[in-house]
């Protein structure tokens, strides 16, 4: 379990997140939603161990501040919002970087083919030999996810749950691949790991999350099941945009919900 209590997070001198309490349990898919600049990414970066904070963050009871980088790498893997690559690695080489310091949890003989399996999972069969820098944004994002999956391939290792921390994992993906990626993250939780994802699409958040945290101006404005959180009043106030939950569009204007998808995986 990831547990943060009374968390203030700073970037330099500036306090970005105030008094946040957060919890992600094994077996759970937890979403963080909120408007731009509300502190979602800052909260996640604190959970990753990237930023200074006051308060307490623990991973399965162990304080984040005493865990070494290589220990953390065995507990959680992180998908960043944007990733740059400074040298011309192939897709396979990038995915294999996921095996740098963590423990995939597969048998030694299988580690060799793990990049191919991870690529197949994110629907990138046949991309292994391509150069990462020549791919489209959405393809690059899926390569990064494959790398992240390699790092914590087994959701539970030696009885300890592991966590995926995903910062806008579907931001540059088409609808089919949004669903592919969300299902991978959901399945990771179903198999005993934990998933924390920052999302902008409230429909996807509602469809896949067990619980949603809503952030507003550096504070957690609400948390609970999708049904508890996605209410007209709260959504309108936090996003500063008057909206109604679960109301058909006026005058029969067409709309498409991801919930209706029945694509084959």
């Amino acid at each position: 379990m990831i547990e943060a209590t009374d968390l203030d997070v700073f970037i330099g001198e500036k306090r970005i997140v105030t008094g946040a309490s957060f919890e992600a349990r094994p077996g759970e898919f937890v979403s963080i939603v909120g408007p731009n600049g509300s502190g979602k990414t800052t909260l996640m970066r604190a959970l990753c161990g990237d930023l200074d904070f006051s308060g307490e963050i623990t991973f399965t009871g162990r304080s984040l501040s005493v865990l070494k980088p290589w220990q953390l790498a065995g507990i959680r893997a992180v998908l960043p919002q944007a990733a740059s690559l400074s040298f011309p690695f192939t897709v396979r080489e990038v995915v294999k970087l996921g095996l740098t310091g963590g423990r995939s949890g597969v048998l030694p003989g299988e580690a060799d083919r793990l990049p191919e399996r991870a690529l197949a999972k994110v629907d990138l069969v046949g991309f292994a030999g391509r150069f990462y820098q020549e791919l489209s944004g959405g393809e690059q994002q899926r390569v990064q996810l494959a790398r992240v999956l390699c790092q914590v391939w087994a959701p539970v290792l030696e009885g300890n749950p592991r966590f995926l921390l995903l910062d806008e994992p579907v931001s540059s993906l088409d609808i089919k691949h949004q669903l592919t990626i969300m299902r991978i993250a959901r399945e990771f939780a179903d198999r005993g790991g934990g998933t924390v994802a920052i999302l902008h699409d409230l429909n996807l958040a509602s469809m896949f999350s067990d619980r949603i945290y809503v952030m507003h101006r550096g504070r957690i404005a609400a948390s609970g099941t999708p049904a508890e959180v996605l209410r007209d009043e709260l959504i309108s106030r936090v996003f500063e945009c008057a909206m109604k939950v679960g109301v058909p569009t006026p005058m029969g204007m067409p709309y498409v919900l991801p919930q209706t998808a029945t694509i084959a995986l």
């Binding site: 990753c48 953390l72 065995g74 740059s84 400074s86 040298f87 192939t90 396979r92 080489e93 292994a128």
Partner: protein, 359 residues
């Protein structure tokens, strides 16, 4: 349940360049062997590589006493020094490029060599006066040590100036390098001004970069530092690979980023300091060799670093052969040869990457 045995693969997996990289390392090693043997046999006195090899292998006295002196006291130290310097320069270039996450970082280009040079010049000029106690205390290591300090200081300043929040700006890095080199140059100028005639001649020749004065003493001074750095380099490889995804991601992958950066900076400064102390300013090896190898085997530092060491050593020996033969019986300082080849190569990289670099 899957068997734990590794499935035999006829072909390497697509996108896996490790087999090719291993082959390249082998070929670079062979190349180095050939070039080293040829260098031993090549020179004003004609003792062929074959005769030498035969002499070494059989233990017989196939060569005369005079040739023996030429080979063991003149050519062999020169070849060994060339191998050490070439390997150290190429590996420091590759490590620095990994650390700064761009292929244009090179100790010579960004002022680290200039800083090391200032350290060395200070000892050469002030060694008998102000820095006398230092020279007495460190003996033959005074020169490499002060060069190391000069290189370390410039590396640290460079990193502080060019890197903000884990992102290195290429333009800032190159410009900061110019400023640092100019600063080191100014202080070096003061030293030159203070130097007497004999020191002045030493400085001029040394500044151009040369393997000509290779002796076993110089090797003794530089070898320990260089060998330690070369042995440490492979341990940086995985961390540097992860670093190419950015500092945050490297940390997420389990790399102790701050420690990696500290070790890399100290290693580069030490190796460059040792090189500059014994052979002066030999430029561009650190940028040409890793770049060529990246085109050939990709940027994976686990293979790039050893391959750079071997190819760097081979190319420097080859450049030394050119510098010895082009105006024979006199010889050109090797720094002129590497700059004449390396500088156009650097311009070519710039041209190819102009669009990406945002300069």
């Amino acid at each position: 349940m899957m068997a734990a045995t590794r499935p035999r693969r006829e072909h390497p997996a697509e996108g896996d360049r490790s087999a090719r990289a291993r082959l390249a390392i082998l070929l670079c090693g062979l190349l180095l062997g050939v070039v080293a043997l040829a260098s031993l046999g090549y020179g004003a006195s004609h003792t062929s590589a074959m005769t030498l090899l035969w002499n070494v292998m059989s233990g017989a006295d196939a060569i005369s006493a005079r040739d023996r002196i030429i080979v063991y006291d003149i050519r062999l130290p020169r070849v060994i020094l060339g191998i050490l310097i070439g390997a150290a320069l190429a590996v420091s270039g590759a490590v620095m490029q990994g650390l700064f996450r761009n292929p244009l970082a090179d100790p010579g280009l960004v002022g680290v060599s200039a800083g090391a040079g200032l350290g060395a010049i200070s000892v050469i000029v002030l060694g008998t006066t102000a820095l006398g106690p230092v020279v007495q205390m460190f003996g033959i290591y005074a020169l490499p040590f002060s060069a190391f300090l000069g290189g370390l200081a410039t590396s640290l300043i460079l990193y502080r100036v060019a890197t903000r929040r884990g992102q290195t700006s290429i333009a800032t890095m190159l410009l900061a390098g110019i400023a640092l080199a100019a600063m080191a140059g100014a202080f070096s100028g003061v030293m030159v001004y203070l130097a007497d005639d004999r020191q002045l001649r030493d400085l001029t020749f040394w500044g151009l970069g040369s393997l000509a004065g290779a002796t076993w003493t110089k090797i003794a001074a530089a070898a320990p530092i260089i060998v330690v750095t070369l042995l440490a380099a492979p341990f940086l490889a995985r961390g540097l690979n992860a670093l190419s995804l950015g500092e945050a991601t490297a940390h997420h992958l389990g790399v102790p980023v701050q420690r990696l950066k500290n070790v890399a900076i100290v290693a580069v400064a030490a190796a460059v300091g040792a090189c500059v102390a014994v052979s002066g300013g030999i430029g561009f090896v650190g940028i040409v060799v890793p770049h060529l190898l990246r085109l050939l085997i990709g940027p994976d530092n686990r293979y790039l670093l050893p391959a750079s060491a071997l190819l760097g050593a081979a190319l420097l020996l080859a450049a030394d052969a050119v510098s010895r033969s082009i105006v024979a019986p006199a010889e050109l300082p090797i720094g002129i040869v590497t700059a004449a080849v390396g500088a156009p190569f650097f311009l070519w990289i710039l041209l190819r990457r102009r669009g990406i670099l945002d300069l």
